[in-house]
């Protein structure tokens, strides 16, 4: 089959043109934008200027894209330390929108947009949907939360600008979600993968099938390839992984095209680097490390070398879809998601993959970490589904042992698997809470 450069049956969307720029032209565009954004941040953000001066650098030192590696990093705590507006590069008169993300600890982080920033955001979301094969005539159920979270409004304006019909249903109220999915002839849905799983389950209980639904755009939390296969098989849709973060713009930083072999980054606006998280050194394409992003066109809140904590790799090969913008491998884990249990690095996504590999259908789980007599214990609570439930104790104990063996095999440590009743684990309407760490690490110090 030949590759079409227009993903959408309705034709190529003009907003997607930058996805296909020749690499040299793209690099020229990136350098020009990088030089302006560094100059802007240097002139207007004291924290950035101070760090540049400490290194004896000025914006004139950025002569090539490689020079970016000389600039200081920005980290999440910088946003907290300068709460609420300390990293803004535009006066409030030019800021037309604020969003905030609820940090798990302490103050939230606040992000700002000028009118031009919102136009960029909308354009990358149009390109996102176009890459998923959506176009005018599609009906998008936007179940991302509307409000301070960037997901809802980001997808909303992108969908409208694409020319699709957007249903601003926001998150939650599963009964209404299912009614709208059926009655409004929805063809695409945006939500977190864990919430989609919940919708699929409830639909099955209610005897509802998603006849018109074809595409799911899922993000805001890491999810495994096994989870994708499960969602695609049970919902009968094509599931796309979307990537974004509020600090950079919100959703619309990267998206899987219809080939779904990595996520294209809209690198004409967000320049990617992969670094060694320990040393901070830039790694070559193909190497795994932490993703660092620089916003090339943001006005209100430029981010220079922002450390995302997401672990991935830039894929060196061009994508068969024809897009020239580079791809990152799907993000299975974040460096700060990592748990250290008895000295072993454990990522929740590994546990998910192990669970889904056994019997195929145990997607609801939670990790509970405790410490007894100085030894870490990991319990994996797994919800029993009708598919795996048997009336004999022997079969259920066998299932439990197979799950424990699979986790041991994948992660390399013994975990205690506990089977729990359906819907006993908290259901997220936003991001799933997969880990309950009850170890009192500081407890023994005094």
């Amino acid at each position: 089959m030949t590759t079409q450069w227009n993903d959408a049956p309705g034709g190529f969307h003009p907003a997607s043109a930058p996805d296909f720029l020749p690499r040299r032209e793209l690099a020229r565009l990136q350098l020009g934008r990088l030089q302006s954004v560094v100059a802007r941040a240097y002139a207007r953000v004291p924290l950035f200027r101070g760090r540049m001066e400490e290194r004896g650098l000025s914006p004139a030192d950025v002569r090539s894209l490689e020079d970016l590696a000389r600039l200081p990093f920005t980290v999440k705590t910088d946003l907290r330390d300068t709460y609420p507006f300390g990293l803004f590069a535009s006066p409030m008169e030019e800021v037309v929108r604020l969003h905030a993300s609820s940090g798990t600890t302490g103050k939230p982080i606040v992000v700002a947009y000028t009118e031009a920033d919102l136009r960029v955001w909308t354009s990358v979301m149009v390109r996102t949907f176009a890459a998923c094969g959506l176009h005018r005539g599609d009906v998008i159920q936007n179940a991302y939360g509307y409000g301070l979270f960037t997901g809802g409004l980001g997808a909303h304006y992108g969908g409208e600008a694409l020319g699709a019909t957007v249903i601003p249903i926001s998150g939650g109220n599963t009964e209404r979600q299912l009614m709208v999915l059926q009655d409004f002839r929805v063809t695409a849905i945006c939500c977190t993968p864990s919430y989609m799983l919940h919708l699929v389950e409830r639909a099955r209980e209610a005897g509802i099938s998603f006849e018109r639904l074809q595409v799911g755009v899922f993000g805001a939390e890491p999810w495994s390839e096994e989870m994708r296969r499960h969602i695609e098989a049970t919902a009968g849709i094509r599931a796309h992984d979307i990537y974004g973060l509020s600090e950079i713009i919100g959703p619309g930083v990267g998206i899987e095209c219809q080939r779904r072999e990595g996520l294209h980054l809209f690198e004409d606006h967000f320049f990617p680097e992969i670094i060694d998280p320990e040393t901070g050194d830039v790694l070559p394409d193909g190497a795994e490390g932490e993703l660092v992003l620089t916003t090339l066109s943001k006005e209100a809140m430029p981010m220079i070398r922002y450390r995302t904590r997401d672990i991935t790799a830039l894929l060196p090969e061009p994508c068969a879809c024809g897009r020239t913008i580079r791809r990152i491998r799907r993000i299975g884990r974040r460096s700060d998601d990592m748990l250290i249990v008895r000295g072993v690095n454990v990522f929740p996504s590994q546990i998910e993959a192990a669970l889904l590999a056994v019997e195929g259908t145990l997607p609801h789980y939670q990790l509970v970490l405790t410490r007894e007599h100085g030894l870490d214990e990991m319990e994996v609570q797994v919800e029993v589904t009708p598919e795996v439930f048997s009336d004999t104790i022997g079969a259920m104990e066998g299932l439990r042992r197979r799950l424990e063996a699979a986790i041991d095999h994948v992660v390399g440590i013994r975990a205690k698997v506990t089977l729990v009743a359906p819907r006993t684990l908290a259901r997220s309407e936003g991001k799933a809470k997969r880990v309950s760490d009850r170890r009192n690490i500081q407890g023994g110090v005094s």
Partner: protein
């Protein structure tokens, strides 16, 4: 010959047994007999009701995981050695028992009725009948319990 049995997954914590019983009670469904198998971690409640499809629907709607299996009802003479005699017939027929429990029959004194979960119920039913074991059909079973 076969009786439909519902099995329910229960966690080992207070209230877990009451909940499905209340769901069935609210739906006006009478539990004819039941047995609870438990491990340190979880339990499996097995029960027999007349309207098993409706029971399954209301339980699933309440979020309970339900599994339907087939069991055989066997009349056992109510005298010393009665059960041993029946089990001897099982053994000779080569039928393995997964588990068994009693059915609350109103014909006390003559015989007891036991429910058996056997490995291959269809094959077991043929072998047991050939061996002279009396299997109780579901309508007769329900009639005896007044359901």
């Amino acid at each position: 010959m076969k009786i439909r049995q519902l099995s329910l997954f229960l966690e080992n914590r207070p209230g877990q047994l009451r909940f499905p019983c209340k769901v069935l009670g609210d739906a006006g469904i009478d539990i004819l007999t039941m047995s609870l198998a438990d491990t340190a971690q979880f339990g499996i409640l097995r029960l027999v009701v007349k309207e098993w499809q409706r029971a399954r629907e209301v339980l699933e709607a309440a979020g309970v995981v339900v599994n339907v299996t087939e069991v055989l009802a066997v009349d056992v003479p109510d005298r010393p050695g009665g059960l041993a005699g029946v089990l001897e017939a099982f053994e000779k027929a080569g039928v393995g028992v997964e588990y068994m429990y009693a059915f609350a029959s109103r014909e006390r004194g003559r015989h007891a009725t036991l429910l058996f979960r056997l490995e291959d119920p269809d094959r077991a039913a043929k072998l047991l009948e050939a061996a002279g074991v009396k299997l109780v059909p579901s309508d007769e079973l329900f009639a005896r319990s007044g359901a």
